[in-house]
Subunit: 208 residues, 2 copies
DNA sequence: CTATAATATGAGCGATAATTCGTATTTTGT
DNA sequence: ACAAAATACGAATTATCGCTCATATTATAG
């Protein structure tokens, strides 16, 4: 590796041209991660695929890590866009229906870009800035906790914190594994069955 | 990196001395992973910490990957040792008690070497031979499925495959996350509460 | 039109790390 | 005791990779 970086603060793209460059770089990173794997995602290769020079890359991203982080952010935002709104209605629903909706949304979220999700979850070493990569579900956790609070009297759980932890963790786990490790499951019937059973698991628990 | 490997098949340690070398290498790898992180685990450093030469390292391990795989295997075996036997008794128990035992064992397994488990789960890019690293729970899955089969008539689930998948995945997820990401949870009371609630979640689901 | 700022370029530096291989030491069988 | 086999050694090789910087091109403002 090279000596200590001298270029510290990167420029913020202000012209149209440079915004396109930034986009191309993030997009190229995502493409390489998916099609060639984390190993092959060198800064030189990323620049090449993006159709720009390495120099340009370092104009906007201080490190390779920052690029990957940008990909994570973008992916996270796409998921959030998918989920947001679908969750607003949930508060008004009866528990069973609400839970079913939540599980269904979790599946939907994992299907936004499964291959990228897979790479981000399995191949990226969570070191440095990427340590916090498990915060995938921070927002989900808060939303779910609020949901429980709104229905406190209908539920047979006293520790809402603990209940949220168990529910969110479980939903995340079985949807994640179903979508990413058992692609044969992806037939629509199987997926419906998964949602049914996942709903039973969580709703049953909450209602005591 | 160097040119194509010429040394293909590594020797199998036959003398006492070499077995000690192999052990030292695996142990050193584990120590470095835990104390310095995956990045610092270079083959030269591993050899140094093990107190042997890099040359010796390559006598027994064809690649760095193989070394990490050996660490994974060793860890897996320690866990299996912990779990095996505790599960034999389970078949004879009533569902609630059995499930509680299963959840408790999952927690215990995660506590065998939490720091190593953490590194293996979070910092190792699952590429090449390590792709299969998620098979952590293959055996668990089979054991659980058998358990369900033995209690088929007492349960309100028809698809045992799906039920096993959901239960094992969920148990693994909330025990893993509790032990590795919420160390403040480790107070024994909190841990008991986790086991209580986890048991309710799973047992409730199975009994309909 | 021209000066100045923004953006783009890419050869190459410096560092690191995986792996090899010729040689030295130790163990084993006889 | 001696030869052969096993084991150990570690400097050197080689590939790769992150990153910089001197220079060129393009856009913007006055």
């Amino acid at each position: 590796m090279a000596r200590k970086p001298l270029l510290k603060a990167r420029k913020t793209a202000s012209q149209e041209r440079s915004r396109a460059t930034v986009d191309a770089l993030v997009e190229a990173t995502a493409r390489i991660l998916v099609k060639e794997g984390f190993d092959k995602a060198s800064t030189n290769r990323i620049a090449e695929v993006a159709g720009v020079s390495v120099g340009s890359l370092y104009q906007y991203f201080p490190s390779k890590e920052a690029l990957v982080a940008a990909v994570v952010d973008r992916h996270q935002q796409e998921i959030t866009e998918t989920v947001r709104g679908e969750l607003a209605k949930v508060s008004a629903m009866p528990i069973d229906e609400a839970v079913r909706q939540l599980v269904a949304v979790a599946v939907k979220a994992h299907r936004v870009d499964p291959r990228l999700h897979h790479v981000l979850a399995e191949q990226i070493p969570r070191v440095g800035k990427l340590e916090n990569l498990a915060s995938f579900n921070r927002e989900n956790f808060v939303l779910f906790r609020d949901f429980l609070e709104n229905h406190r009297d209908e539920l047979r759980v006293d520790d809402l914190e603990l209940a949220s932890f168990i529910c969110v963790t479980s939903i995340e786990a079985f949807t994640h594994n179903a979508v990413l490790h058992h692609s044969r499951m992806l037939s629509n019937e199987k997926m419906e069955a998964l949602i049914d059973e996942g709903t039973r698991l969580v709703a049953g628990y909450l209602k005591g």
